[in-house]
Amino acid sequence: MQGKLNRRDLLKATVGATVAASVLSPGQRIAKAFAQSASSGTYYWVAHVGPGDPYWAVVQRGVQAAGKALGVKAVFEGPSGYSPPKQADMVNAAISAKAAGIVTTSADPAVMKGPLQRAAQAGIPTIFSDTPPPKDFAAAFANGNPIAFVGVDVRIAAARASAKLVPLLPKGAEVVVVNHEPGNRVLEIKTGGYLEGIASLEPKVEKLVIGEETTKAVEIIRAYLQKNPNTKAIFTLGALGTHAAVKLLDEMKASNDKIRVVGSDIDDVTLDAIKRGRVVSAIDLQQLGFGFLPIALLYLYNTYALDPNDHIGAGGTVDAKNVDFITKLAKQGFR
């Protein structure tokens, strides 16, 4: 397959190079566009965790939709459990497979530095998605690859979601952040965002590791609440934590105003809990776009040398005001 050009490849390459040459950019870009469109390789979206998580299942759906819309092969890859090293191995495998473009995350940017440099040397364009890399790593990636970031600043998104609690909690309230995936940099940033949103309350904050198994997570939170009965709010960092918190509070028959919940990521349980008032608000990361947009941008870069060249953001909040509309979208698999 590799190395053999069919008519469609040649047409793509010619159109891509011609348009780029006549309209858009200088010679280097044209050469790159020609080379990439001629590769006719696969577009890879490589995450730090697999589609077993509902959040990533929606990203995968976005990737598939982009592949279908653009008429290219686009696949989503990710290890079965959280593992940046395995993610790096998969990016390396995609480079060896002569990918047309690679999208990846910066859950652990140090791990991704080597593979992205290899991709740059191989002439494969890359895009960061999900969460931007930290500033101290930005310099390492300042050589034009990754060509863009597509995602959300989770710190801002989390701050917006938690700010909804300010009128509902007393000053100095005890709150707990439950973490199902310790070691994930993005979740720590999200935690920081939550606390920023309620900073005016000067809350007493504790962090609790609950693991990735829902039953165990419920019992860990239960034990925590027994020891800390004055807890006024639970912040969750993903659907798994929200499920555990909602299940426990329902079991305890706690009133909605006794312990408030702010969550992250959208699914049926979270949306239903928002409708019932059990969850005050949740971060809506709109991850379908994280799957779709980077593939589209890489395609445009390869075919027309269009350089996105900037931060393309997404993400919002779901609360009682828009929960019905978001529920409709979730039923269609777009959340």
Binding site: E77, S80, D89, A93, I95, S96, A110, K113
Partner: protein, 317 residues
């Protein structure tokens, strides 16, 4: 002859893997891809050698994944504290060996199955890793020379092959000599195969097991150091490498009941599973197929090995 050819299953797995994935994507049959496979295999392969030799002597170590992570974390912390590189590496390897020794002492003194002992220490060292890091990965922005030596160096800037593969090869050669060409190697086969008979002819069975637990821990720590070197970062999250190591050893022909297995088989078994991992990505298949594939491969290989065992038994009788 056939009793030492249990690695045949891994050879078949590699042949089938390469045929299928090369057909699906010819780029799979390149040095770049093979370099990537060897790099992936280096860390898990180093663990597999320790685990496999321990299995040949009739014991298991489920804590190798946690030992791997904890050792890498301690190495990262020492290096960040500006402790000299050689002292840091030797300290961590010593600590990893002690973790293995502890597993052996608990198992042999209390006579509880190593499966239980090391299940406990798996959780213990995982908890310690999370505790000392607070859940954060330990990362290096600029590579230190020691990290380059351990795993980050490549023959050329664009190469997918890393120096960690050389460390793995060195470990494989040393353990191959030990297992195949020394009296201690015979003791290992005797200890795992016919324990009471070995004891009767004077083989120090418990000492053999204790040494193998220690070596297993040492190699888990070395593998952790290799990954820290290659990735310049280590996460405290549980790696789950213990099951991959056991799977690689089994695919390579190591018997779950002890007494059988070769270092060559362990190496081939690791390459077979790493090839499947890379091949699925190269073919553009969803990566969650990997675990399903590995499950099928293990069953097929064990069936092949069982048939081989029956053939050997029939010929002998």
């Amino acid at each position: 002859m056939l009793s030492r050819r249990r690695e045949l299953g891994a050879v078949i797995a590699i042949a089938v893997t390469y045929s299928v994935f090369a057909y699906l994507n010819p780029a799979f049959l390149t040095w770049a891809t093979f370099g990537g496979i060897l790099t992936i295999a280096a860390e898990i392969g180093t663990i597999t050698i320790g685990e496999g030799v321990l299995m040949v002597s009739g014991e298991f170590d489920l804590s190798v994944g946690s030992n791997f992570t904890f050792s890498a974390i301690v190495l990262g912390m020492l290096l960040k504290a500006a402790v000299p590189a050689a002292i840091s590496v030797l300290t961590v390897l010593g600590m990893a060996a002690l973790i293995g020794l502890l597993n052996g002492l608990i198992t042999l003194r209390t006579r509880i199955p190593s499966f239980i002992t090391t299940l406990g220490t798996l959780f213990f060292w995982n908890g310690m890793a999370l505790w000392v890091t607070g859940g954060w990965p330990i990362s290096f922005i600029a590579p230190l020379p020691v990290l380059n030596v351990l795993g980050n160096s490549t023959p050329s800037p664009a190469s997918s092959l890393h120096v960690s593969a050389a460390w793995w090869a060195a470990a494989a050669i040393i353990f191959w000599i030990m297992l195949e060409n020394t009296r201690y190697g015979n003791w290992i086969y005797g200890t795992g195969g016919k324990t009471e008979a070995a004891r009767a002819i004077g083989v120090p069975v418990d000492r053999v097991k204790l040494i193998n637990f220690t070596l297993c821990g040492l190699l888990a720590g070395l593998a952790g150091a290799l990954q820290l070197g290659r990735m310049m970062s280590i996460s405290p999250v549980r790696s789950g490498l213990e099951l991959e190591a056991i799977a690689s050893a089994v695919v390579g022909g190591v018997s779950l009941f002890g007494g059988m297995g070769t270092v060559l088989g362990m190496v081939l078994g690791t390459i077979a599973l790493a090839s499947i991992e890379v091949g699925l990505v190269a073919a553009g298949a969803p990566s969650f197929w990997y675990t399903a594939f590995v499950g099928c491969v293990i069953i097929v290989i064990v069936v092949i090995n069982t048939q081989l065992d029956q053939l050997i038994f029939t010929r002998r009788s």
